[in-house]
């Protein structure tokens, strides 16, 4: 009994091990450390957003004389000023982190799952299955991203869930290719050949020998997918196809742009822009460091 417990504890530990080692490996890279810190801050802000946002993001601010506080520059009451509709920019900015992260994480996990599924099946089995799946990705790869997203969101309606769905539909293709190519090399590894020679079932080989060894690439792809998802959500919102019931950074920029306030209200335009750059760059930094550390040919041997 205690042995079973011991074993299951060991199993959990082993399953977590790649994550822990990955993390340990990443914090050795100064860029990745920055990336992780920025990303960490975003996650924290997103979690506690409702408590730290000073105002309701859509509440109209009024001046003492009862007029709408339009395009007020930063002040002590409104650190980042107000929008053309009298909303507090800082509050919108803080609440916007939630959408970015929700879309980013959920879409990335979905993308990771589908990419892995397709990539593993295609790469492992090869032959006609591979052929069919790869032709499917060819088709998917020939669809221009944003125009498709525009049509699809127009079709499904602009809710966060639909945006996530569309992002998933768009980005599984690249991941499937990458993961497939890793599986192709992994499949040729001698221990996989051995397992086949020993009579192991396909499922056994995939679960025991292929998946654990491609997890790193999956992780990398999921990280990158978070960035793509955030970027796509922002672009859609910027084009006016974001979920209207919540604030997002792309939407803030869209509103600023459509209100013609681009040049006059820097406090409304600059913060969401910088947030987007910071969040996406932080993910790219993590991804890059990860690539650098896991690719022996890129690794700095000094």
């Amino acid at each position: 009994m205690s042995q079973t417990i011991h074993r299951s504890v060991a199993w959990v530990f082993r399953a977590l091990l790649p994550i822990v080692t990955t993390f340990r490996m990443l914090i050795q890279d100064r860029f990745a450390l920055w990336g992780l810190s920025i990303f960490g801050v975003f996650i924290i802000v997103a979690i506690i957003a409702p408590w730290i946002a000073p105002y309701d993001p859509f509440a109209p601010m009024m001046t003492e004389t009862g007029r709408l506080m339009r395009l007020a520059p930063p002040s002590s009451d409104h650190w980042l000023g107000t929008t053309a509709f009298g909303n507090d920019v800082l509050s919108q900015l803080i609440m916007g982190s939630r959408v970015a992260l929700r879309v980013g994480l959920v879409a990335a996990l979905a993308v990771g799952f589908i990419s892995t599924l397709v990539g593993v099946i295609s790469g492992y089995f090869g032959g006609i299955i591979d052929d069919i799946l790869m032709r499917m990705t060819d088709v998917a790869l020939s669809i221009p991203t944003l125009p498709f997203a525009i049509v699809a969101v127009g079709l499904l309606g602009p809710s966060v869930d639909n945006i996530i769905l569309v992002i998933t539909l768009l980005f599984w293709r690249n991941g499937a290719r990458i993961i497939r190519s890793v599986v192709l090399t992994e499949r040729e590894r001698v221990f996989v050949k051995w397992a086949r020679a020993a009579g192991a079932s396909h499922l056994h080989i995939i679960l025991k020998h292929i998946l654990p060894n491609i997890l790193r690439v999956v992780f990398l792809w999921v990280t990158m997918s978070v960035a793509f998802a955030v970027l796509t959500e922002a672009s859609l919102s910027f084009l006016g196809l974001g979920d209207p019931s919540i604030t997002s950074w792309g939407q803030m920029l869209n509103t600023a742009f459509a209100s013609g306030a681009l040049r006059s209200a820097w406090w409304w335009v600059a913060p969401p822009s910088l947030m987007l750059i910071a969040l996406i760059s932080s993910l790219y930094l993590i991804g890059r460091a990860y690539e650098e550390q896991t690719n022996p040919r890129l690794k700095d041997h000094s």
Binding site: F31, V151, F238
Partner: protein, 321 residues
């Protein structure tokens, strides 16, 4: 080689066919009815039926599909609902406009990016050049294209007032090629072109850099260095080899690239095909939107083919049968 190209072309046709089919059905199940563009005045139901018939929207969806694909084979994309003329005629000038920012943007971006990538890749590992190069490239890569566009607009057009930030300039009655070969056009071209270039640089830079860094560890680079040739020559060997992964990325990345260009066109009011595509979707001008998708799909597929062929030119190891 010819057999290979034939095979790839057939593959490409299949892909385009499927993409076209998908887009066709996507547009047909869109909730809106395109006749509503004419409805503000309260069109009568009879008139609506006339329009539907005229646009080939009255049969079952399968009939419409067969009709559409049949017409497509003869090069007929249908008539734009909005402009009332062949979708192809509508799109053609926009395509030219887009090419003006897309092609030089892509080429310059790739060139500048890979040149910088060579420098960063060849710089000492862990040194200032490498670290700042990577950091900058990553940050720029993390900037959505509309943020880049807005930033450029704000700084160079609004604040410094150096260059205009909208449209293609006033041609003063110039038409044809002369519409593009004038100073005013060039002046208007600067910002959107810069946005596209900036959009391209980081990816190229980072890819080139990893390529060069990887190549630096290759045995053949060691041998080249052992031969006592100049460092520049050694770098050339590394760069030449790193172009291969770059090519494989560059062309297929078009699908994502188009997204960047669409946004750039919108931000800079550039009358290009991307902006028209978005407008067509909003206006439910299906024939134009579908034709644009069709053209983009063909472009991407051909670019992939071109990537393969270029690759085979650059990499003598690849021999297609």
């Amino acid at each position: 080689m010819r057999a290979y190209i034939t095979r790839r072309l057939l593959q490409a046709i299949l892909v385009v066919f499927v993409v076209t089919t998908i887009m066709f059905f996507m547009f047909r199940i869109m909730p809106a009815d395109p006749t509503t563009m004419f409805l503000e005045g309260g069109m009568t139901e009879e008139a609506r039926q006339v329009l539907l018939e005229e646009w080939g929207l009255n049969g079952t969806i399968w009939e419409q599909y067969v009709l559409y694909m049949g017409n497509l084979l003869t090069g007929d994309f249908g008539n734009s609902f909005f402009y009332r003329k062949p979708a192809w005629e509508v799109l053609f000038p926009f395509i030219i406009n887009t090419l003006w920012i897309a092609v030089p943007g892509l080429l310059l971006g790739a060139f500048i990016g890979s040149a910088l990538g060579m420098i960063v890749g060849w710089a000492p590992r862990g040194g200032k050049v490498e670290r700042s190069g990577i950091l900058l490239a990553t940050i720029i890569r993390g900037a959505p294209s509309f943020v880049v566009g807005i930033g450029l607009l704000a700084v160079f057009s609004s604040y410094l007032n150096w260059v205009p930030g909208y449209g293609m300039g006033d041609p003063q009655g110039q038409t044809g090629l002369m519409r593009y070969l004038n100073w005013d056009f060039a002046h208007h071209l600067i910002l959107p072109l810069c946005a596209v270039i900036i959009f391209f640089i980081p990816e190229n830079l980072l890819l080139m850099r990893s390529g060069v860094v990887e190549a630096r560890t290759e045995d053949y680079i060691e041998l080249v260095r052992a031969k006592g040739v100049s460092e520049k020559r050694v770098a050339w060997h590394a760069g030449r080899n790193s172009m291969l992964p770059l090519i494989t990325w560059l062309f297929p990345a078009l699908a994502e690239t188009i997204a960047g260009i669409v946004v750039v066109e919108i931000v800079f009011s550039w009358p290009g095909v991307g902006r028209e595509l978005v407008l067509a979707v909003v206006r439910q001008d299906y024939p134009v939107a579908q034709a644009a998708f069709f053209l983009l799909a063909i472009m991407i597929v051909l670019a992939n083919l071109a990537a393969d062929l270029t690759y085979s030119k650059l990499d003598p190891r690849v021999a297609y049968k």
